[in-house]
Amino acid sequence: MKGYLKVDHVGKTFNKGAHATEVLTDITLTIEKGEYVSIIGHSGCGKSTLLNIVAGLITSTTGGVLLEEREVNEPGPDRAVVFQNHSLLPWLTVYDNVSLAVNKVFSGTKSRAERHDWVMHNLELVQMTHAKDKRPGEISGGMKQRVGIARALAMEPKVLLLDEPFGALDALTRAHLQDSVMAIHQKLGNTVMMITHDVDEAVLLSDRIVMMTNGPAARIGEILDVPLARPRKRLELAGNQTYLKCRQRVLEFLYERHRFVEAA
């Protein structure tokens, strides 16, 4: 077992005074370079906690995370995060939001002109060059998320962490953005770990789907391979047997075996 990104027996317990809640138990997961892995589960199952542990934003109680054989326990630009609610700085323009990251990460390695080109290149990848001088308040939710993705990509991360990146978007914008992410993944071959609660999204985008059991003390319930050839086309897949089977499998896991108990 080599692996590029290894999550090794990670557990997380939150202590609030004398009250301890175990959120994650014994999560072990290996992600290969260039792989697109989705983590799906009902809300409250701790999938965001897992992503935050990989990002280094919170520390695990037990176990650890290895990236290229090295332990990571603090946040860094090698594990760039696209946050659910874009997290763009509202006082900076689209360009400045991306260049803040670029200037910080490449201050020693790229010249000023190179950094400018790199910002523009990443804005081009997400088709946002036209709005580079606008502030986040002046662009739509989908556009903000594109800029968030551009900012993460611009850090040239080893692993791209997507925390329900399309969760706050309407269905049409979401589909459009999913296609963009697929195209970018195809082009750059990033290693991606994505948190989602959308079954179609998981099947469409991922090489593997990690299904989590319900919390507290959530575990990995099942890992499903999605053996669909890339590039994938949304419309063609709608009738594809493999696609439907994968979808069925995830749905069964979520709604039969691990039904969300609190859901009314």
Partner: protein, 299 residues
């Protein structure tokens, strides 16, 4: 019932006649200069007329009430005639405290400027500390909450005892008056920096200085400026009272001196000036806030 009928009608009409759409050049009609000027004048008048009317009514009522024989306060016409010399020549200087209003106001403004700037610096620094560190908050907050309720003038005797001079004592009173809202609002602003922004800073590995300038200051700026605006208002309130007790050149003492010599009209004139300058100070800080936060304060 009408819906299906209308639908079939359009459905049959569409394939029959579909002329190529002609693109009409959009003609922007510009109203002639005169009309625009008139429209503009009307808008200005709509904003200016109400205050002018209300002011006139107030002055007339005042004139009637105080114009009667036996009235204790002078009517506006008398105020104007008695203080005309002060209004037209605010720059005279006959030595001592017998100076024009400009000198009194500028002396007061200087005290406020020094005290307020010190309060802004110290207040933002302390507010940042209290906002960032839970330990500092737990330690300092109770003290702040108690001290901020002390009325400004109650500090004056202590301040005089410590500094033994009017000037630094007055400045200290301004400082201690203005600092509390600045500290408290800055702390709230820092505390309210969204976790998302902190996460972004963590992923980018911004150091403390970069975090301070690139995340903390812009994010907390709207709150800080709220504190600064309350602070400037309070300092201007406090300076008049402090100067009444301290004496020397200053608008506060000018009012006190006028009262002692029963020149009521001069008091009224001074009050108008104090009010207008307080208003201007508030506007200046508000303007500064819009410039610094670049209008993103609403977010």
């Amino acid at each position: 019932m009408n819906m299906p009928l209308a639908k079939t009608e359009t459905a049959s009409a569409v394939p029959v006649a579909r002329p190529a759409a002609t693109v009409l050049p959009l003609q922007i009609k510009r109203a002639p200069f005169r009309e625009r000027a008139i429209a503009r004048a009307i808008t200005i008048a709509e904003h200016l007329l109400p205050p002018i009317i209300v002011l006139t009514i107030a002055l007339v009522v005042w004139e009637i009430l105080c114009g009667r024989p036996g009235a204790t306060l002078p009517p506006p016409s008398q105020v104007l005639s008695e203080t005309w010399e002060l209004i037209v020549d605010p720059f005279y200087d006959r030595g001592g405290i017998d100076k024009g209003l400009f000198w009194h106001l500028s002396a007061s403004l200087q005290r406020v400027a020094v005290g307020y700037c010190l309060a802004a610096l110290a207040g933002i620094a302390l507010g940042t500390l209290v906002g960032q560190s839970t330990w500092a908050m737990r330690g300092l907050d109770p003290m702040f909450q108690v001290l901020r309720t002390v009325p400004p003038l109650a500090w004056l005797p202590l301040s005089l005892a410590a500094f033994r001079q009017g000037q630094p004592a007055a400045i200290f009173v301004i400082f201690i008056t203005a600092i509390w809202p600045i500290i408290i609002n800055t702390a709230v602003g820092i505390r309210n920096i969204p976790q998302d922004f902190r996460n972004v800073a963590a992923v980018l590995r911004l150091n403390h200085l970069e975090f301070f300038w690139k995340i903390m200051v812009p994010s907390a700026a709207p709150y800080i400026f709220t504190g600064l605006r309350i602070g400037i208002g309070l300092s201007w309130l406090a300076i008049v009272a402090a100067e009444m007790l301290i004496g020397g050149v200053g608008i506060g003492f000018f009012i006190w001196d006028a009262w002692n010599s029963s020149r009521i009209s001069e008091i009224i004139l001074a009050l108008v000036y104090v009010g207008v300058i307080g208003f201007i100070l508030d506007r200046i800080v508000a303007l500064l806030a819009t410039i610094v936060t670049r209008g993103t304060a609403a977010n």
